[in-house]
């Protein structure tokens, strides 16, 4: 019933004069103005924002549909990174030596795609062997219990990786070894641009999937009302499996496509995980659409802190900003009474 009042049509003006929209509007204005000072701020915000959005989107999806605060999301990033380095290693020599530009462009994709697939399978295994076991027994204190489970998964995966593959970073200098290109007077490495393109394509596909496909609708339905979804003949276990698979695939994809920036090590997922958490808390837990916008917002705060203040404070400032936002909007910028993974 609160849902009804919350969603009841409000006048257009009031709708856009909310805290959320004022914040976003201000952010956009600041971003555009600062671009006159240093255009790289705008460009880099967009580029890093894409990466964070991809990472945070998966995290938000799992919380939105399954109510799991996944602290092992970073280890799935690590898995993607590791897979890509193992697959791409042998291919790299081949493509670098070839004369064909097409091969050079396509070379990195097998590694990235395999990583994505491995992530998907890992997610499905994780759901079946861990969360499903807990769900069968008890759903009491679900959020905290699953948090601890994911913390356990994280510890196990990190240390297994260390025992099996060792500590040394498996990295590459570049995926796409071409001359940096110039945008708005900012020189941008092709790798960076490509990751942005991948992120945008994946996010768009993901959004379409959630909104337009039968399965995507089923996911959203489960996130809003599990009983209702079951009544409509949706298999909860099936949706859960797919949710964790997709989210893990996104994390692994992010890890694989950032291999040139973050070499695969057992702890490589920790930093992206922290940023993804910044994003989902800022945006409102379990809200994929919010997480995507939030990814850009956090990227912007980080870029501005690094530029105007100092790198030392690059983690503190977003934290302070989020604390501030939570004071005014206790459930995040896009949080609302209505739960749904995509809907704001």
């Amino acid at each position: 019933m609160t849902a009804a009042t919350n969603l009841r049509q409000v006048p257009l003006l009031r709708r856009y004069l909310t805290f959320t929209w004022i914040t976003l509007g201000l952010a956009a204005v600041i971003l555009v103005l600062s671009a006159f000072n240093s255009p790289s701020l705008l460009v880099n915000t967009l580029v890093s924002g894409g990466m964070w959005a991809m990472m945070a989107g998966g995290l938000a999806l799992v919380f939105g549909v399954m109510n799991i605060p996944n602290f092992a999301h970073g280890e799935l990033f690590m898995l993607g990174s590791l897979t890509a380095s193992l697959v791409y290693g042998p291919i790299r020599e081949l493509t670098l030596s070839s004369k064909s530009d097409v091969l050079k462009w396509l070379g990195p994709f097998p590694g990235i795609l395999v990583a994505c697939a491995v992530g998907f399978v890992a997610g499905i295994i994780l759901e079946g062997s861990v969360f499903r076991q807990l769900r069968k027994r008890s759903r009491e204190s679900w959020v905290m219990n699953t948090f601890l489970l994911t913390a356990g998964v994280s510890v196990i995966m990190q240390n297994t990786d260390m025992l099996v593959f060792g500590n040394f970073p498996r990295g590459i200098s570049r995926y796409w070894d071409f001359k940096p290109i110039n945008i708005l007077g900012v020189t941008l490495a092709v790798d960076r641009l490509m990751v942005f393109v991948i992120a945008m394509v994946v996010i768009a596909a993901f959004a379409l999937f959630l909104q337009k496909t039968r399965t995507g609708r089923a996911m959203r339905a489960v996130s809003m009302d599990e009983t209702g979804a079951q009544m409509a003949g949706i298999s909860l276990n099936g949706v859960y499996r797919l949710t964790l698979g997709l989210s893990s695939a996104l994390a692994a994809l992010a890890g694989a496509s950032l291999l040139w920036l973050l070499p695969a090590t057992p702890t490589v997922g920790q930093a992206p995980l922290l940023v993804a958490w910044y994003v989902v808390i800022l945006a409102g837990l379990g809200n994929v659409q919010g997480a995507i916008i939030g990814g850009f917002l956090v990227a912007m705060i980080q870029q501005f802190t690094a530029y105007y203040v100092s790198l030392d404070w690059v983690d503190v400032v977003p934290t302070a900003f989020i604390i501030l936002v939570l004071l005014f909007k206790p459930s995040g910028l896009f949080g609302s009474e209505v739960k749904g993974v995509w809907e704001q």
């Binding site: 009804a4 809003m224 003949g233």
Partner: protein, 177 residues
């Protein structure tokens, strides 16, 4: 408990629905942030045939023209009567052979209640068996074919709606005549 000769006691809920049993719960369990159209589409989750989805949707809109008017409105923003219509409409989407409806009059004003019962009656006329659980005895008994009175968990009386409406025990205990 069996349905068409199959034991359904231990089946998971989503498989029961796939057997052709629809269910409209008393709390409706709609998807508040989805539009009416999307709610109906999710209702047809188990239906693979697109033409069939289309025809079922047309049927829902025919029974509840009001839903058609508000096709793109979010379910969370609708009035109580409209929500009830949507819940029944969603239950109809897979074209179930049996539909269980739990307390459809709950929390509704008399006029929407009548409209809801009217829709159920039409639905039943089109060949869907409807199992209704209701406390609103007077209205219910006027539209049903068969009725059972449960008292303390056991069937106390059964008969056609007409019979029970004139039964003295029912009149005394439930209709206050």
């Amino acid at each position: 408990m069996t349905f068409k000769g199959q034991d359904i006691t231990k089946l998971p809920p989503h498989l029961i629905s796939q057997l052709g049993i629809g269910y409209v719960s008393e709390s409706l369990n709609l998807f508040p942030a989805m539009s009416i159209y999307e709610n109906l589409l999710v209702g047809a989750h188990t239906v693979k045939d697109k033409a069939k989805v289309k025809s079922q949707m047309d049927l829902v809109f025919e029974l509840f023209p009001r839903l058609l008017e508000r096709r793109d409105q979010l379910a969370g923003t609708m009035s109580g009567g409209e929500r009830k219509m949507l819940a029944i409409g969603r239950g109809m989407m897979p074209a179930p052979t049996l539909m269980l409806v739990d307390e459809p009059s709950l929390g509704l004003a008399p006029i929407p209640t009548l409209a809801t019962f009217d829709a159920l009656k039409q639905l039943s006329a089109r060949g869907t068996t409807i199992l209704l659980v209701e406390q609103n005895v007077n209205t219910t008994l006027r539209i049903v074919d068969r009725a059972y009175v449960l008292e303390q968990g056991a069937v106390a009386l059964e008969g056609t709606g007409e019979q029970l409406l004139h039964d003295s025990h029912v009149q005394e205990a439930y209709l206050g005549v």
